[in-house]
């Protein structure tokens, strides 16, 4: 008798989020199967890989991490283009200079830079604020306004500041990253609250991504459960693509600081694991990881 592999059918589908204006537009998510279950349904879009770019010269990066960007490190526009040359699908610009505990650059200035980068590159742009929940209100609402029409992916939007930031994103046509602190119940709560005034097709979930050996299993479980609940059980409040922002988490491990090779392995293993858990966008630091991940993904899908 011929063997027939058992196949599952699922009731839910992850929303397809489109970021970037016009020809730059990039589709994220949209699958109606669990991660890499391409034999059971449709994976509308492969996972997207981003490289990170800082708005200021990094002070705590390992020497070998700086190497590929040596010539462009003080110019975010050139750095972003370099990241794309190295194979990134898109760029993640971190507004670290806006951190009130650091340079405390005002939102207006940060917004100008975002606009400059966004209009100079051929890919869509992810923008992360400093993570200070108050300062991010000023910074991200200004970015949303100044970059109206660019369809940025803006974050992090958290429980404490989602109202003003999501409103600005809505008014100026951007997408947002809903971030919760490694807790699936809080993740859902934020989604439910956002969905009252914000469309599902413009939200990406960031459950926080810990590095291998530093709590990665928590991130893995939450991403995996998010997909189960959204795709298998059809909970519409959990049907958004997931972003795994793991670059700096991996880079700050003891192992990555010790040697270049360990750092590479750390980022690669963490990224592959979180892709298997269901991440739709991964933010990386190392071009070499990016190259290897591309091969993995293209060989599978």
């Amino acid at each position: 008798m011929e063997y027939k592999a058992p196949l599952e059918t699922y009731t839910g589908r992850v929303a397809e989020v489109i970021i970037g204006r016009g020809e730059k537009a990039l589709k994220i998510g949209g699958e109606n199967v669990l991660p890499f279950h391409f034999f059971e349904g449709e994976i509308a879009n492969p996972p997207r890989l981003a490289l990170e770019v800082l708005d200021t010269v990094p002070t705590n990066w390992a020497e070998w991490d700086l190497d590929p960007y040596k010539d462009v490190i003080s110019d975010p526009v050139r750095w972003a283009n370099k990241a794309l040359e190295l194979g990134a699908d898109l760029v993640c610009l971190r507004l670290v200079s806006t951190d009130p505990a650091g340079q405390n650059v005002p939102g207006e200035k940060a917004a100008e830079l975002v606009k400059k980068v966004a209009s100079a590159i051929r890919s869509p742009l992810i923008v992360y604020g400093s993570g200070d929940e108050n300062k991010d209100i000023e910074v991200l609402t200004k970015v949303a306004e100044v970059c109206a029409g660019e369809v940025l992916l803006l974050g992090p939007v958290v429980k404490e500041n989602y109202e003003p930031i999501s409103k600005a994103a809505l008014d100026h046509g951007h997408c947002i990253i809903a971030q919760s602190p490694l807790d699936i119940n809080l993740e859902k709560e934020l989604n439910v609250k956002l969905l009252k005034s914000f469309p599902k097709e413009r939200i990406v979930i960031d459950p926080l991504s810990s590095a291998l050996g530093y709590g990665m299993e928590y991130s893995f479980t939450i991403m995996e459960r998010t997909k189960h609940i959204g795709i298998m059980f059809g909970d519409s409040t959990m049907q958004m693509p997931i972003i795994a922002d793991l670059a700096s988490e991996c880079a700050k491990t003891k192992q990555a600081k010790e040697s270049e090779k360990q750092g590479l392995l750390w980022e690669l293993v963490t990224a592959i694991s979180l892709l298997l858990a269901g991440a739709n966008i991964v933010i990386l630091r190392l071009p070499q990881t990016l190259k290897m991940l591309k091969e993995v993904i293209q060989g599978t899908i």
């Binding site: 699936i184 119940n185 809080l186 709560e189 439910v192 609940i229």
Partner: protein, 292 residues
């Protein structure tokens, strides 16, 4: 269902201050209010009672018995405080609680025999709370048979499956429910009780009531005998008295997964259906489970 009023609880700031200052009126007001509201027992939760366990317990039992004839549930892990309380009770008290823990078997269960009282036995063991129905069963069979050997009959035993907060571990809510369902077959004749409000621990204060009430109805459907609960919640007492049968029907329907037309329901009815689905583990819990 027998309701044990939970309000005299040492974790409450008001109660702990009153106990420290020996302020009888605060305690007596709480006792009277619960008695009026319909409590069948008054729980006296003394916590660990490390300082002056005997003096504190005796004072508390006496001031409460001055204003109510209801039987008392003496709620402490300290066997010295427990014995001081049981000794003074005028009505047959409830020892709350013993468990499968080694120290509890050695020090608490013999007190239940000595004072010929009812006793709560929880499924806790030296390893903590058993994670599923099978391990809860294993634990309780062992502890109850130990109690039987001491001469405590099943009829005096109130089994506690240990309720955990839905916001912390949603799966455990269902496990405890299933355990209550099979309990009469496991141990014929035993009674049962739960610390009901624990299901809503960690949930925003204004949303706790509906979780407590819905879970009470669900457990009651499967034969739960009693609950340590917030008897000052009027709707909870009404539900327990059978004065809201349409809500009970709705909760049962939701438990059975019957199709329910939400748009034909009032906000209150919708909330009970949503809450049942969360407690059954059908929808993922979040603090916003009633919204959207």
């Amino acid at each position: 269902m027998v309701l044990i009023g939970e309000s005299i609880h040492i974790i409450s700031r008001r109660v702990s201050d009153a106990v420290k200052d020996r302020n009888a009126s605060v305690i007596q007001d709480l006792a009277r209010a619960q008695a009026r509201a319909g409590a069948d027992y008054i729980d006296l939760n003394l916590g660990p009672a490390k300082k002056d366990p005997v003096g504190m317990t005796e004072w508390l039992v006496n001031v409460v018995q001055e204003v109510t004839d209801l039987p008392l549930s003496i709620d402490t892990l300290n066997p010295v405080a427990m014995e001081a309380g049981l000794r003074l009770c005028k009505k047959r008290p409830l020892l709350n609680s013993a468990s499968g823990r080694t120290d509890s078997k050695a020090e608490m269960l013999p007190l239940a025999k000595k004072y010929n009282c009812d006793v709560v036995i929880s499924v806790l063991t030296d390893k903590g709370c058993p994670p599923d129905v099978d391990s809860r069963t294993e634990s309780i069979m062992e502890t109850v048979s130990y109690a039987n050997e001491l001469g405590i009959p099943n009829e005096d035993i109130w089994v506690d499956p240990i309720i955990l907060p839905v916001s912390a571990d949603q799966k455990q809510v269902r496990e405890a429910l299933e355990f209550i369902k099979i309990l009469p077959d496991l141990l014929p004749g035993v009674k049962s009780t739960v610390g009901l409000s624990n299901v809503s621990n960690g949930t925003p204060e204004e949303l706790r009531g509906i979780l407590n009430r819905t879970y009470m109805v669900m457990l009651g459907r499967y034969g739960l005998y009693s609950a340590i609960a917030d008897t000052l919640d009027k709707e909870l007492v009404k539900l327990n008295r059978g004065e809201m049968p349409h809500i009970v029907d709705l909760i049962c329907k939701a438990m059975d997964g019957e199709p329910i037309n939400m748009s034909s329901l009032s906000k209150q009815e919708q909330d009970y259906v949503k809450t049942t689905r969360v407690l059954m583990g059908e929808t993922l819990y979040s603090h916003a489970w009633l919204e959207g």
